[in-house]
């Protein structure tokens, strides 16, 4: 079942068409928009959220039409805008309380508020400080906390990692992966292909307001003849991962193009059956399978340059 449906979506700013007849079906997954600056990614996201009105087309989220029922939709959708800012005189805690209360319509306990602040990794000594004293990275962390506050069913993230340091970025990728496994639908727009390939199940490349390509990351890899994937585990030792993959290799030899190789803490596998392998790995808790770093960048370049 589609969580979000876009039908013939178009938008013009003046005479310039920024989104041109986009139609997409977004299922429960992590769905990524890739594209150069001015491609129409943010405009599409803002139309999905009902913040700007499309010139033409229809948007349905969770079975509701955004045109007539945007209030209902917004109860279940969290949003992190690009370069988010806050009221400078408000503290992180006050803002989390405010957004939580708006989403849940209930008074929040200190524990509920603290768990959101803790989740985003904002240092405790800043929770009660005014946001004007926050660094760009801290603001971004708070912005992500606000987007996920109140257990929304869909979260829209526009350039979420733009100001976060590499370790923080990795931390958030893991956290978002966990949220996604819990059943959240995540829409993400970014320029950073290395982040997207660690998160997204489906990738849509937009340029000049037109969808150039939209498919699951595995199908995109397969179509463009990329077959290298990385398997790793955040929980188990690399020895355990190697043993387990070797077992799978013995069982399902036909899936593999060659024997998996060890690369630091992970394994590199070449397969023509990524979807099958990924779903098989889901039987073993805490295994992650992602395209080999850099693959999406190649797909992106290939799509953009033709």
């Amino acid at each position: 079942m589609s969580i979000i449906t876009l039908k013939g979506l178009s938008k013009k700013y003046g005479k310039k068409t920024v989104v041109n007849n986009i139609s997409l079906e977004i299922k429960k997954s992590c769905f990524a928009f890739l594209g150069p600056n001015g491609a129409g990614k943010t405009t599409t996201l803002l139309m999905i959220l009902g913040l700007i009105k499309p010139l033409k087309g229809e948007i349905t989220i969770l079975g509701k039409n955004i045109k007539n029922q945007s209030k209902l939709v917004r109860q279940k959708v969290g949003f992190l805008p690009e370069n988010v800012g806050f009221y400078p005189s408000k503290t992180g805690r006050e803002l989390v309380t405010f957004i939580l209360e708006l989403r849940t319509k209930q008074k929040q306990t200190t524990e509920q508020i603290d768990s959101n602040l803790k989740w985003c990794g904002l240092k405790k000594e800043y929770w009660d400080k005014k946001t004007k004293s926050y660094s760009q990275g801290m603001r971004q962390r708070l912005g992500i906390a606000l987007a996920f506050a109140g257990n929304p069913e869909v979260v829209v993230l526009d350039e979420p990692f733009s100001n976060i340091d590499p370790l923080g970025r990795e931390d958030f990728i893991n956290k978002i992966n966990v949220k996604q496994k819990q059943g959240l639908t995540i829409l993400i727009s970014s320029h950073i292909t290395s982040d997207i390939e660690k998160l997204a199940d489906t990738v849509t490349i937009i340029d000049n307001g037109v969808v150039k390509i939209s498919d699951s990351i595995y199908s995109l890899m397969k179509n463009l003849k990329y077959n290298e994937y990385e398997i790793f585990s955040n929980k188990f030792q690399s020895n355990y991962v190697i043993t387990k993959i070797n077992e799978i290799y013995s069982d399902k030899k036909e899936w593999f193009l060659e024997r998996p190789t060890v690369l630091r803490d992970s394994l590199i596998v070449k397969t023509k059956f990524p979807k099958e392998l990924k779903s098989y790995l889901e039987n073993f808790n805490n295994f992650e399978m992602r395209p080999l770093t850099g693959a999406l960048q190649k797909i992106y370049r290939f799509t953009m340059e033709g």
Binding site: T43, K64, K71, L72, R74, P81, F98, L102, K105, L146
Partner: protein, 268 residues
């Protein structure tokens, strides 16, 4: 499954938003600025009072009428002038502020509608300004009562409060409209100041001052002053229409603002 939003939920949103915006203004520099500003009309009253006390030949006894007149013409008159400038400055960023600090997108993506968010801001500011006005009135009334042993008449107090409140409402409605529709702080400050201090004078040159808001305020002030001097209220069709104009102008501006802001493409 999404459920329909009930009236009860709308009220909950209204309370959450109003509380948040009220606290936001209360804790900002604006409160310190406003408290300093309200000292000026208070100071004017005490200055005039000390003049009266030090001139026994002219004011052998300070009567109730003296106190009421001093309160209305000294304090209320000055408050009208000062408060409208003060409110233009402090509320110029009431909507545009979110766009300059980049919280707007996140705020307007939350469940309450834009209409409800704007309405909450209006309510929060009306509550805040009423509290400020009350504070300044209490300071003056208590001060006058301690200094002279006389209390300002209730009807003068209420009429004065009403006229200051209506003047505030107009200043705020203009600032609010400009702040919401232009999303520019500078324009939201400059245009009302230009209107109050230049355009109204300009209308006067062409004998069109009776269509300015300040003329409406003056007419109502005259009605009240006349009452203080003669003890009778003259309320003809003209005066009633000015009173209706005083009340309806800000309300119409608020409604127009909310209507157009709802349709605005907030990204542009």
């Amino acid at each position: 499954m999404l459920k329909n939003v009930t009236q009860n939920e709308f009220i909950k949103y209204q309370i959450i938003l109003t509380k948040f915006f009220f606290k936001k203004i209360l804790k900002s520099w604006k409160t310190i600025f406003c408290v300093i500003m309200i000292i000026f009309p208070v100071f004017t009253v005490y200055h005039k009072l000390s003049f009266m006390i030090s001139n026994p030949s002219r004011y052998p006894t300070i009567t109730q009428n003296n106190i009421d007149y001093l309160f209305f013409n000294g304090f209320v008159g000055f408050s009208i002038l000062l408060f409208r400038l003060m409110y233009v400055i402090i509320f110029s960023d009431i909507v545009s502020g979110e766009f300059s600090n980049k919280f707007a997108m996140m705020l307007y993506s939350t469940p309450p509608s834009r209409k409800r968010i704007l309405l909450s801001k209006v309510i929060a500011i009306i509550l805040y300004s009423t509290a400020l006005e009350l504070l300044s009135f209490v300071i003056v009334v208590v001060g006058l009562s301690i200094s002279t042993g006389l209390i300002v008449s209730l009807e003068v107090l209420l009429l004065g409060f009403l006229i200051v409140f209506l003047t505030f409402l107009l200043s705020f409605s203009i600032s609010f409209m400009l702040s919401a529709l232009t999303r520019n702080v500078i324009i939201s400050i400059l245009i009302p100041i230009l209107y109050f201090f230049f355009v109204e004078q300009f209308f006067g040159i062409f004998d069109l001052e009776n269509i300015t808001y300040y003329y409406f305020v003056n007419m109502m002030t005259e009605v009240i002053s006349n009452y203080l001097l003669t003890g009778t209220i003259i309320l003809g069709i003209e005066e009633v229409s000015y009173l209706i104009g005083l009340i309806s102008a800000p309300v119409i501006i608020f409604l127009i603002t909310i209507f157009f802001f709802n349709k605005l493409d907030i990204r542009t």
